[in-house]
Amino acid sequence: MINLKINGLNVSVEKGTTLLEASRFLGFPIPTLCHVDGLSPYGACRVCTVEIMENSKSRLVTSCTYPATEGLQVRTASSRVISARKMILELLLASCPQSKKIQDLASAYGVRRQRFRQEYEDCILCGLCVRMCEEQMMAKAIGFRGRGEGRSIGTPYDRKSEVCRTCGGCMYVCPACQLRCTFNQAENPICGACENLSPPCLEKDNYDDMMCSMSPCLACEIKQYEPLKGEK
């Protein structure tokens, strides 16, 4: 057993446990996009970032890939972690704003602005579908292709794969495939909380089929982003 400290709590976990598993086991929530139980950890989305103390120095690591080590001090929700996650979510919003999962997380973390060049990618290259296809479906029909800017996921030569059984596992795990609700607004980088229009909760019944991220509805709590003191 390995003894470590998570958010000041002494815990002992089995060898080989990742920080994500240990934290979730204790009930500390860590958001993830590229992690699904049963698939190998990959560390692509960086949303599960936590702060660890190593040799009296603090460092940010992805909890899904970092194994628990003896005497490690972990903080899953320090201000540094939160601000890092907000930045990561902002970057994800810049590339793939139509994903419901990303919008949900951004909303949960109070990301109210997106300062980067807006793109509308279909894919955040988290590799969940590739791992699903290989590890759970034993097919290896899709994989990563190319490098750097030209990296993409798909079949060889972009042709229908002969090993694909059209199981749909790739779409099931995809964090970008589930589209967000845009209500009656044009697509904007951040879910503008359309329900924030008054009256927020009286007409709630009308939005039942909207797959709204805010459950329970907190629309009336959400305000437009207000610059902090000294911020322009």
């Binding site: 290896k140 029909a141 994989g143 990563f144 190319g146 490098r147 060889p156 794969s161």
Partner: protein
């Protein structure tokens, strides 16, 4: 290769060219005149319409089929046969068969890192990674196609498309970028009419951009073929392309049926002009004396017909007309005909075994004629 050669009966039957224009010579005349009778460039060939005996033409390089010369007209000395009809002119690499893949896999084994080694070997054999070969590797090793494709697209070294005989890489690193490398790429794109990563239609040159060649102080850097060009400006692009193309030409001479060695004698004293002591293009050179103004020097020609390579002792200005003479009898080589390229006078030389070759005396002109129907001996 030679045993499959069936040009003469095919040309004689004339059935393959039923749609020829009437003013062109008949296949029988072609054979008599030594005109490339099976060239697919029948309609636009200017040599043909002039009825000239031409064994090598510039337009030929555009023709998909090799120009075939009948056996009866081939000189009797060590000539290379022409490839069979379906084969391209010795440039196309053979397709990889299952046995070849087996052999490669056998050589590389299946230890760590075998996959990249196997792909490297396939690429060097075929010039690129054919889909068929990748599928064969996948089948034989059980490695999924996705992995092979992923590796093939990840590394810049690998190419899924056939590549040109030569690659021009334009550095796009930071130092080269600020010194105007993007403008260079535009110029290459304009002159080659291809985008980076593409190959010209004639399969000669592949244009590429690279991120850094590690010689930033010399930037912008362009690698053309095996040569590095430093501090390149857009104005030098044409020159680079010319050099790369020429380089590819000398490399292609070997095995190219349009280039064959000839041996020549002085038409005046009948002494052999061949100099086995100095090889050009891998064959004994032709030694002559060239006079330009007051200056007299020994020059050496390539004895490969069609190569046009010349070595001078001292520089002679381009386009200057020289007087060629025999180094043994000192007689001036003067002919009656004029160069088909520039109209200057030509120097006649006797071909051993019968025939007359005439070369243009103007420096830099590659104009020449060859007539093997004349019997001087």
């Amino acid at each position: 290769m030679g045993s499959e050669y069936t040009a003469a009966p095919d040309a004689e039957s004339g059935t393959s060219r039923g749609d020829r224009a009437d003013d062109l010579t008949t296949p029988e005349e072609d054979i008599r005149l030594g005109i490339c009778s099976n060239c697919s460039n029948l309609e636009t060939c200017s040599y043909r319409t002039l009825g000239q005996a031409v064994w090598y033409c510039e337009e030929y390089s555009l023709a998909p089929l090799p120009a075939l010369i009948p056996d009866t007209l081939l000189p009797p000395f060590g000539i290379k046969r022409f490839p069979g009809k379906g084969e391209a002119a010795g440039r196309k690499r053979p397709e990889l068969e299952a046995d070849d893949i087996d052999a490669i896999l056998q050589r590389q084994g299946t230890g760590t890192g075998w996959l990249i080694a196997v792909l490297e070997e396939i690429q060097s054999a075929a010039g690129y990674l054919p889909e068929k070969a990748l599928r064969m590797v996948s089948e034989k090793t059980g490695r999924p196609m996705v992995d092979l494709y992923g590796i093939a697209t990840f590394y810049r070294y690998f190419s899924l498309k056939p590549r040109g005989r030569h690659t021009i890489s334009v550095c796009q690193g930071t130092a080269c970028h600020v010194r105007g490398a993007p403008a260079l790429v535009d110029e290459f794109k304009r002159q080659l009419n291809v985008k980076p990563g593409e190959t010209t239609a004639d399969g000669a040159i592949t244009l590429e951009t690279v991120n850094c060649l590690g010689a930033c102080a010399l930037g912008p850097i362009v690698v053309g073929g095996d040569r590095y060009f430093s501090r390149v400006e857009a104005i030098k692009v044409r020159d680079i392309l010319k050099k790369v193309r020429n380089e590819s030409r000398t490399k292609d001479i070997e095995g190219d049926p349009r280039f064959f060695p000839i041996a020549v004698r002085c038409p005046l004293c009948s002494r052999s002009l061949m100099d086995p002591g100095l090889l050009i293009d891998g064959h004994p050179s032709v030694r002559l004396t060239a006079a330009y103004g007051e200056d007299r020097q020994t020059i050496r020609f390539s004895s490969l017909y069609g190569s046009g390579a010349v070595e001078y002792e001292r520089e002679i200005p381009v386009d200057a007309e020289t007087v060629l003479s025999c180094p043994y009898c000192a007689g001036t080589l003067e002919g009656e005909s004029s160069c088909p390229e520039c109209g200057n006078s030509m120097a006649p030389l006797h071909v051993e075994g019968g025939g007359l070759v005439q070369i243009c005396t103007r420096r830099g002109c590659k104009g020449h004629t060859l007539d093997l129907t004349l019997d001087y001996f």
